[in-house]
């Protein structure tokens, strides 16, 4: 994308704009956050730049929480022949950003995630005497199988199932929005083309579509 001949603004200019804009502690570094509570990015954030988790508000997972989240992310999206695991593309950092965000919806999600992390470690301890991140893959799946689908989870696993559903949604969001996730699922857009391309002829044939356009 960087070789596109589009009008771009310089990085220096972008930084000047970001600093001029409100809610722009991003470039001042993490310590700038110590001054007060996390702020939303507001109604006029500078858009034409790339952000990363932690740019707008501080991340808040403890080391223990992060370890459990990483284990869960990689249980939900492990490495396979197509692509690496979720943690390889910084999905735990995204989930940290999500649950640390100063918006009502994310604050509600934060409670489910933080309580859920406690719950799943308690469950791991109860079943195996160790925290979730220290379990074998088989032991982790044993717990996950009980909570992976709310409509079929037993009543005693309802909290775990709600938590797991949210973890899966966030993990998938974090993973598939990255170029690694795009390639895995087969998204090859976001590139400038001179014409809208024709689909593979064998696909049209399979669907019984004639070229009518």
């Amino acid at each position: 994308m960087n070789d596109t001949p589009l009008p771009r603004i310089s990085r220096r200019e972008a930084i000047r704009w970001v600093i001029a804009a409100s809610g722009s502690a991003a470039l001042l570094g993490p310590r700038a956050f110590a001054a007060g509570p996390a702020k939303p990015y507001g109604r006029d954030p500078f858009l034409d730049t790339a952000y990363k988790p932690g740019d707008f508000w501080p991340l808040t997972f403890t080391a223990d929480q992060r370890r459990t989240v990483t284990a869960l992310c990689d249980l939900i999206i492990p490495a396979d022949d197509h692509s690496p695991a979720a943690s390889a593309v910084a999905v735990p950092e995204f989930i940290d950003e999500w649950i640390s965000a100063p918006y009502q919806e994310q604050e509600a999600n934060r409670k489910i995630i933080i309580d859920g992390l406690k719950w799943i470690n308690g469950e791991a301890m109860r079943r195996h005497g160790r925290n979730f991140a220290e379990l074998t893959a088989q032991e982790q799946s044993g717990i996950a199988d009980d909570i992976c689908y709310s409509p079929k989870a037993k009543p005693e696993f309802s909290q775990g199932a709600e938590f797991f559903a949210m973890m899966r949604s966030l993990t998938a969001t974090g993973f598939y929005t990255t170029p690694v996730g795009w390639r895995d699922v087969g998204f090859v857009g976001n590139v400038a083309l001179t014409a809208f391309p024709d689909p593979p002829p064998e696909l049209l044939e399979k669907l019984g579509l004639t070229k009518t356009w």
């Binding site: 034409d48 790339a50 999206i77 197509h82 689908y149 969001t173 598939y176 064998e202």
Partner: protein, 614 residues
């Protein structure tokens, strides 16, 4: 220096335009290129899509993966600046379900579905207004749409008909660039030959849907979008629009020539730095500014129109948001294009002993006839579209749509609701966003692990969505008025809204969803979240962002605010050129018609100025 601070404005202008969106942009373009000295006042900040649009940013480069928030309800990269479903410091009042009928509270919601809030009002605060992020769907109203009362006895007729607006549709389409096809369908007018740009081929799911929907009698044709599928012929367009004005021809040609063709990537709602889609900021304002006849003051919140003893408009008061000072500017003609409801608010707040009910409001109709578009949708998953090979099907916005097709059945009273809708279609292989695979657990009994990844590859691209956009009939329970107590941060009294769908709209929304279900099932698909003819499946009022009707035009000063030229009955040098003058709200999205009507109005303004009548 056409962008001015308040202290640098001229003592007197020919025309003041309030607002810079579709209506204001068109007005500035037509008037400034004709040599009229124009001052445009915009309540938001200066904005230039060429410099600010995030064209290739990925969702992973945005906070929260660009997910919608109360700050950015359409996602982080949406072009909207300074507002959304609420504007900080600029509240509006509405009712909430479950509260007494006479109780109003400040609108605060940003998630429309399931919300108890009765009315939603989307407002940006930026140059170009809502044209920066709109859907670009550009449909002409048809002959029936101007005379709905004559046809079925409901609502109101326009004081003009299709033939009055047709040449202006031609002009607007030529200037902004619209792709589409002429199909010769009922009440779905063809464009003048050579006006429309060639449409892109439909995406694979759109083709598949087309095949199956046609078998059910639902026509699926090329969308009409204000997007350049190829570069416009700048010289030809400019010459056709300004045959006797070489300067205007040049300014227009230069501006058009700077617009590039779409490159089939990035979401149009972010705006477009290569100017391939229509935005007031890239199409209307640049040639108007090049003429030297347009001055623009941004961050200028207009409070009221001033009048003299003869009952003529003399100018407007605005609050300069930067200095917080009240400023008065003068002109021969005042033209409101602040958006339907905001223009009504300005008129209602323009009170004087002579106009104690607000300006242009002897009829009491300012704020009445408030309409939005009926919206309902349904999604589904199509097994035939699973496991597609990898290919680029991103494209630009929507490639096909379905115009209303049941005119005859409806007129014969067979449908149980009086007005039509069109269908918008979504699907394909878009850039994955937040929540992209939230449908997977239900299809896979809660897959996780390697199986989740396999299922994601299998199902990606196999989901489609259908949305209906239908005509509402104005009713007595839907209107806006000035709240007796509440003021905004600038000391200006705010609007409060009442809104109600009638059975006509509820039944129409149910028909929409039944149709979508039939189409999706005919494709072999499974619909998501079907719960029968649900009355709550209609989108809340205002949420489709097509609010019109609040300064209606008409033939009779007793029942309308404006005459057939969008000129206030009471104040002959006061005009409205946004969606406010609409008398009905056909299923055709209003923006194209706002532009055509504004152009026609400005031609009349020019003629009346030349004659010395205003």
């Amino acid at each position: 220096m056409p962008f001015l601070v308040s202290s640098k404005t001229k003592p007197q202008y020919d025309v003041i335009i309030v607002g810079s969106g579709a209506g204001g942009g068109t007005s500035a373009y037509v008037l400034a290129l004709a040599g009229v000295k124009v001052l445009m006042l915009e309540a938001g900040r200066k904005y230039d899509p060429v410099e600010e649009t995030p064209m290739f940013q990925t969702n992973a480069q945005a906070p929260l993966r660009a997910a919608a928030t109360s700050d950015k309800p359409f996602g982080f990269h949406d072009a909207t600046v300074g507002g959304g479903w609420t504007v900080p410091g600029e509240p509006y009042m509405t009712r909430r379900q479950g509260q007494p009928a006479d109780q109003f509270s400040e609108a605060s919601e940003w998630q429309i579905w399931g919300s108890p809030q009765e009315w939603f009002w989307w407002r940006p605060r930026m140059l170009g207004g809502r044209t920066n992020h709109w859907g670009r769907i550009s449909l002409r109203m048809g002959p029936y749409d101007f005379k709905p009362r004559s046809r079925d006895g409901l609502g109101l007729d326009w004081p003009i008909d299709y033939k009055d607006l047709e040449p202006y549709y031609d002009k607007v389409e030529s200037l902004i660039g619209v792709w589409g096809t002429n199909e010769g369908l009922e009440n779905t007018p063809d464009s003048r030959n050579g006006t429309l740009l060639p449409p892109p081929r439909p995406r694979v799911p759109e083709l598949f849907l087309q095949k199956h929907a046609r078998a059910l009698g639902v026509p699926i044709i090329s969308s009409h979008m204000a997007l350049l599928s190829r570069k416009l012929d700048a010289a030809r367009v400019a010459k056709s629009l300004h045959p006797n004005n070489p300067k205007a021809e040049k300014w227009t040609a230069d501006s058009i020539d700077s617009r590039l063709a779409c490159f089939w990537a990035t979401d149009c709602g972010r705006g477009c730095s290569i100017k391939a889609n229509y935005q007031s900021t890239t199409v209307h304002l640049p040639p108007a500014l090049a003429s030297g006849n347009l001055d623009i003051v941004t961050d200028a919140m207009v409070r009221e129109v001033t009048v003299n003893d003869e009952g003529r408009a003399t100018g407007v008061y605005y609050v300069d948001k930067k200095t917080k000072k009240d400023v008065h500017v003068k002109a021969r003609v005042v033209l409101l294009a602040a958006s339907g409801c905001e223009s009504a608010r300005i008129l209602l707040n323009s009170k004087s002993p002579r106009f104690s009910n607000g300006l242009a409001n002897a009829s009491g109709k300012v704020g009445r006839y408030l309409m939005d578009t009926v919206g309902a949708g349904l999604g589904g998953q199509i097994p035939a579209l699973e496991n597609m090979p990898v290919f680029n099907d991103e494209g630009a916005n929507m490639h096909v749509y379905s115009p209303w097709w049941l005119y005859k059945e409806q007129l014969a009273g067979k449908l149980g609701f009086p007005r039509g809708y069109h269908i918008e279609v979504g699907g394909g292989r878009p850039m994955p966003g937040a929540g992209q695979f939230d449908f997977l657990p239900d299809l896979t009994d809660g897959a996780y692990g390697k199986r989740f990844k396999e299922e994601a590859r299998r199902y990606y691209g196999s989901v489609i969505g259908m949305s209906g956009r239908g005509e509402m009939i104005p009713n007595d329970d839907s209107y806006c008025e000035v709240d007796p107590d509440k003021k905004d941060a600038w000391g200006i009294p705010v609007l409060r809204f009442r809104f109600k769908w009638s059975d006509y709209e509820i039944k129409q929304s149910q028909h929409m969803r039944q149709t979508f279900k039939s189409v999706i099932e005919s494709m072999g698909g499974k619909v998501f979240g079907w719960n029968g003819p649900d009355e709550k499946a209609i989108a809340p009022g205002g949420s489709i962002i097509h609010e019109v009707g609040t300064t209606a035009m008409g033939d009779d000063p007793r029942s309308s605010v404006l005459n057939a030229h969008c000129q206030a009955w009471e104040i002959k040098n006061l005009f409205v050129t946004d969606g406010g003058p609409f008398v009905s709200n056909a299923d055709k999205n209003p923006t194209l018609s706002i532009m055509a009507l504004a152009w026609r109005t400005c031609d009349y303004v020019l003629e009346e100025m030349r004659k010395g009548n205003i």
